[in-house]
Symmetry: C2
Subunit: 333 residues, 2 copies
């Protein structure tokens, strides 16, 4: 029987302590729509309103609190990082040929790949223009570097599609680039805006990196497990596209001989493969439990990263997330 997902981790419920500021970020995002040419502001509005779970903005705001106080610059940083994230989502949906995200048609589905490629570019260009509002060039430098890293991670993932030889370390390195990088700048730059010392910045940077990587492992499990209406985006695209994620890589390691050959063949069929059968195999091989263990390990490391600053700062607002996320992962694995 195909394992199903009981309940999705609602990371948003841990954002309550920064809810008023998140609402200000949302308002600022909506205001940014007006900064675009009237011919394209409709698309931007749709992207801003229907995409993005605001995880990166929330991390900026929570870290602002954890490292001092939330200033106007934190709100701007949150807007910028969410716009960069939206740009990558718009482009991702083209690559994944995705029709639905968060229960709504994707930009690609509504307006086609051409508009979507260009709109992603506009969002990204605008986000980087907003970086220049900070007198400090460090912000723009870190965000453009992280954006490059996100896309590089995605390229590597695309290169390694249907590559059954991919190692777990390579998988982890790739998701650290594609997801960890923006989480990392969310926490690091937020602490930076509060003027923290380099070693403390490193602690917040590591926290973001590890949380982001754990979150991507979880997201990859959801892609295999979930139901479209539950998750609100087109699911199971990873297997179709030959993206081999942690649970699948674990399963492949467990198999040998004829069995491995049979499963490999099934995996290599992509769209025409029997995904029910693959997910079942992943489950039987303990692939999901393995991925959950790895994600929990990363969350423990994220927690540990904050040890060096905990005596000085209110890091519990961030720890609450890793704690709850870890507990939820227990129900999955």
């Amino acid at each position: 029987m195909k394992p199903t997902l009981k309940e999705k981790f609602r990371i948003q419920s841990y954002f309550d302590s920064v809810k008023p500021d998140l609402e200000r970020v949302d308002k600022k995002m909506t205001q940014q729509v007006k900064a675009f040419d009237p011919n394209i502001s409709g698309y931007v509005e749709y992207a801003v309103e229907h995409s993005g779970k605001r995880i990166r903005p929330a991390l900026v705001l929570l870290t602002a609190r954890a490292s001092g106080s939330c200033k106007e610059g934190h709100l701007d940083l949150a807007v910028i990082l969410e716009l960069v994230h939206l740009a990558t989502l718009v482009h991702d949906d083209i690559l994944d040929n995705a029709g639905i995200r968060r229960g709504m048609p994707t930009m690609r589905a509504k307006w086609g790949s051409e508009i979507s490629v260009l709109l992603g570019d506009c969002l990204f260009a605008h986000a980087l223009k907003l970086c220049t509002r900070f007198d400090d060039l460090h912000i723009a430098r870190m965000i453009s570097a992280a954006s490059n890293e996100v896309c590089t991670g995605e390229i590597i993932q695309t290169q390694r599609r249907f590559d059954l030889q991919i190692s777990m370390d390579e998988y982890l390195k790739t998701i650290r680039m594609k997801t960890g990088a923006l989480f990392r700048v969310s926490t690091e730059l937020s602490a930076y805006l509060n003027g923290l010392r380099d070693e403390d910045l490193e602690a917040f940077s590591d926290f973001g990196d590890q949380l982001g990587t754990a979150y991507q492992i979880y997201d990859d499990c959801l892609d295999l497990l979930g139901e479209e209406q539950q998750i609100g985006k087109t699911l199971g695209t990873d297997l179709v596209k030959g993206k081999l994620t942690l649970p699948v890589l674990h399963m492949l390691r467990q198999l040998s001989g004829e069995e491995r050959e049979k499963v490999s063949e099934n995996l290599l069929q992509g769209e025409s493969g029997d995904h029910f059968e693959i997910v079942n195999r992943v489950h039987e091989s303990g692939g999901f439990s393995f991925a959950v263990r790895k994600a929990k390990e990363l969350l423990a490391q994220a927690d540990k990263s904050l040890e060096s600053v905990e005596s000085k700062k209110e890091v519990d607002v961030l720890r609450n997330i890793t704690k709850a996320f870890g507990a939820h992962l227990g129900t999955l694995g």
Copy 2:
């Protein structure tokens, strides 16, 4: 008979006076390849070596000379603007489904749309990171705004495909955005780096804007007229994609009644239309002559823009281009 192109305007031959500096720019571009992750540097190298005619770098260097002297910052600016341009080319080739550019396979043709979308993003992110090398935030702000404008122009063009009602003003506004914007920052920011006063900056800005717009009109004529081996990129994609350019818009204005209906039907067929017939009609209606007149007008305006600075600066290096370009256009129309 379909009109043919006698000879292409070799804008590069007017770059001779800055050739040594252009070679330094090329060297710097090649060095930038190493700044990318080893997994993607091969693509970047291909993009850097096989795309881009270095028009924007040349404009930066020529303007540096016209407005003072060429400093290290001008070389960096030239690299950045060419990287932004390369990013847009990589994305354009996806949208146009183009197989060949400058006589070589496009990135899309070699590695597919997915890698190309992401690689364009990486190039763009890296270009904007390089902007932060300038202490002055104005550079990054202008370049990110111009990049947004380029993509917005392309979106508008995409929206208006197969729209026979598009006015000439709309066409001109669109190409001013998609091509004029990067030409404009090439000349304006180059003069800015030489510390010119605002009114002089405006003169160089206008020059770039008008030259870029004229160049795009010419490029659109080439798309209708040229032979693939002559121009070195897949030609005639505009009609296939329903992009109605100045010569075609002029022709439509000349026709009425049954004739207009017949041609409109042909245009709306896109890929399956008779392009030979359309180009012939454009020629007979004086569409090319009309476009050439408009381009020449813009070149005259570009020249005039420099009047206010000519007594103080060596603007002839720029004027040589508009003069020769204007003369060449005479042979076309």
